[in-house]
């Protein structure tokens, strides 16, 4: 099992240097955003993050940073940068009750399901409801149908994802961490939807 590797298709949009930690007032040109990943165990949350942050699908290759907290800065067209601080959560059922500790204060929640698993889609809807009830009211939510490369095994129709997302005011996208399809688009679209602090 595990992620078999394929080459990253894109390295643009990255900033070379580390983002200077900005503890004070939010800088409208350089946003720092807490993003939490939710979804059933095995839907590909960790693979999506690795793909986005390191451009790789194979998590067994040499790595130098922690596996559950990762950050990545992207530059947008309007020369603003967004630093995503990505909080992985544990997908196993025994940890489900701990999720509020992780999504508290998050500006973005990415809810992931696996298009080959209707159960994971049901679980995604559970997370959406949970976030609507207990999350930060301004939270930007994205619904992600992952493993889009497994078309022949698809069990959740695209339209179901689109409809559910639309009903709940979420952004929707199907991705594949394996082929890198739509991974960067996912984060770019989120960045565009972030509420901007008024520039001073």
């Amino acid at each position: 099992m595990g992620c078999s590797s394929s080459l990253p298709d894109r390295t643009s949009g990255r900033l070379a240097g580390p983002n200077i930690e900005n503890g004070g007032a939010p800088d409208p040109k350089n946003l720092r955003v807490k993003l939490v990943l939710l979804g059933d165990s095995g839907v590909g949350k960790s693979c999506i993050v690795l793909r986005f942050v390191r451009g790789q699908f194979d998590p067994t290759s040499k790595v130098t940073v922690g596996a559950s907290f990762l950050s990545q800065t992207i530059a947008l067209q309007d020369s603003t940068t967004v630093k995503f601080e990505i909080w992985d959560t544990a997908g196993q059922e025994r940890y489900a009750a701990l999720a509020p500790l992780y999504y508290r204060g998050a500006a973005v929640a990415v809810v992931v399901y696996d298009i080959t698993s209707p159960d994971s889609f049901t679980k995604a809807q559970y997370w959406v409801k949970e976030l609507q009830k207990h999350g930060n009211p301004d939270i930007v939510m994205a619904l992600v149908g992952n493993k889009a490369d497994l078309q022949e095994k698809r069990e959740v129709p695209v339209q179901d994802g689109i409809d559910y997302a639309e009903k709940n005011g979420m952004f929707f996208i199907e991705t594949s961490a394996k082929t890198a399809d739509n991974i960067n688009q996912l984060f770019e679209e989120i960045a565009k939807r972030l509420p901007r602090p008024p520039s001073s």
Binding site: E21, R32, K45, S46, V49, S68, F69, T89, Q92
Partner: protein
């Protein structure tokens, strides 16, 4: 994980802060700091309010330092170190007033400690489905030791950095496993169970007995043969350290203290993430039931019950000797002997009351005249410890495995002991 942000070591930063505060130009700042600290003695403890007041004070001081002539032309890093120094100074001064300052918190600490004591006796890595490639005793022990250091510091930043170090050790373990064993990284699903397991192992009262023993052996070597004051000071510091280390672990209070008093701008990003994971590990333990584990429900209940009985046996064996030495047994334990076991395991050591008047003393405040008294206390602690050891040894009749087989008896002095040993003060006459 990213390298720590500050280049200078915390102690260098801190002495730099104290130096600047001794500069006559900083008189106004020193006045505000002192009057803020004094103002705390006017109110009774209320953690949420106290936290808010301290955070507001940090912000006010941040503005004041930013505009202060002493810091004219200073870089952001220099101002940041000053604020770190300020946090350490203020929170060290207010420590006994703000740490575990309300009975509810001590109660939660005790309950967690008790539950962990029970889990200790039977919990195995497989109950949390920790994969075999991640079962690395050496790494776990290292992570536990990093976490245990949390009690040897008073400054929120230093306490937080113990958590970070512990998590860093676990992350390295995961990364090594992913490289050498071809283990596919599962993100937090790998990390969290290991952290929970390490937290349970690191938080047992038993471990603190082991450390107590380590230090007592060290002290036996020193043997109070000192003639010079320097030696006396050294021994007194060691005794103080033994007493501090003998405190039962205060997982809840440590987390709450960091949450409330670490400068808010610093409890973000990666630090906030790993902090949250320890909160999460604590919450998991508090709510832990058979359903949380890969373990048969009946087996779980039986193991918990067996662990409770073991602890009661300890208590019965230990009590007569202990009472013979007029150790005050907390009234709660008197009421419900079956419940408040941790109090009896650690009779009064954790209580900074009149029996151990040096619990809140700073090393610098002690005089040679205190040696006799400290020696008496030391003997008292050793005697109690020996009684406890005897009582514990008698427990081998029980079929449960010995709790926490920590065989290696290395000493456990923290690398940077300034958190507890160094007397800090802004010395000036004003």
């Amino acid at each position: 994980m990213e390298a720590p942000a500050a280049a200078a070591s915390p102690s260098v930063t801190f002495y730099d802060f104290l130096d600047r505060m001794r500069n006559p130009a900083s008189l106004d700042l020193v006045r505000s700091i002192k009057s803020f600290i004094v103002s705390f003695s006017f109110y009774t403890a209320n953690p949420e309010n106290d936290g808010k007041r301290v955070q507001e004070f940090f912000l006010t001081m941040e503005a004041a330092i930013g505009e202060h002539p002493l810091w004219a032309g200073a870089t952001d890093e220099e101002i940041d170190s000053a604020l770190e120094g300020l946090e350490k100074y203020v929170m060290t001064k207010l420590f006994s007033r703000t740490f575990a300052s309300v009975p509810e918190d001590s109660k939660i600490d005790r309950e967690i400690s008790e539950k962990i004591g029970l889990l200790q006796t039977f919990l195995k890595p497989e109950h949390l489905d920790i994969p075999a490639v991640l079962r690395n005793e050496a790494s776990w022990l290292l992570a536990e030791k990093e976490l245990q250091k949390i009690n040897s510091f008073k400054a929120p930043r230093e306490k937080l950095s113990c958590i970070m170090s512990c998590c860093r050790v676990i992350n390295n373990l995961l990364l090594n496993a992913s490289m050498s064993e071809n283990h596919v990284l599962a993100g937090l699903d790998d990390f969290l169970p290991v952290l929970i397991y390490v937290t349970i192992k690191a938080s047992s009262p038993w471990i603190f007995l082991h450390h107590l023993f380590d230090h007592i052996s060290d002290l036996d070597v020193v043997h109070f043969q000192m003639k010079k004051q320097a030696e006396a000071m050294f021994v007194m510091e060691r005794i103080r350290f033994v007493l501090l280390m003998a405190n039962p672990p205060q997982l809840h209070s440590n987390l709450k203290f960091i949450q409330l008093y670490r400068r808010q701008a610093k409890l973000v990003s990666e630090a906030a993430y790993y902090f949250t994971n320890l909160v999460s590990a604590k919450t998991f333990v508090v709510d832990l039931s058979a359903k949380s584990l890969s373990m048969d429900e009946i087996k779980f209940e039986e193991s918990m019950q067996a662990a409770r009985l073991t602890n009661i046996a300890t208590q019965i064996e230990a009590s007569p000797t202990l009472q013979g030495q007029t150790i005050p047994i907390p009234p709660t334990a008197m009421h419900d002997k079956n419940k408040d076991i941790s109090d009896l395991q650690m009779p009064s050591i954790g209580i900074g009351g009149s029996n151990y008047p040096y619990m809140d003393a700073e090393a610098g405040e002690l005089t040679v005249g205190d040696v006799e008294r400290l020696l008496g206390l030391y003997k008292d602690v050793v005697t109690k410890y020996r009684s406890l050891c005897t009582a514990v040894r008698h427990l081998s009749v029980s079929k449960t495995e010995p709790p926490v087989p920590h065989s290696e008896g290395t000493s456990f002095l923290p690398k940077q002991p300034e958190g507890i040993n160094t007397k800090i003060d802004i010395q000036r006459e004003d």
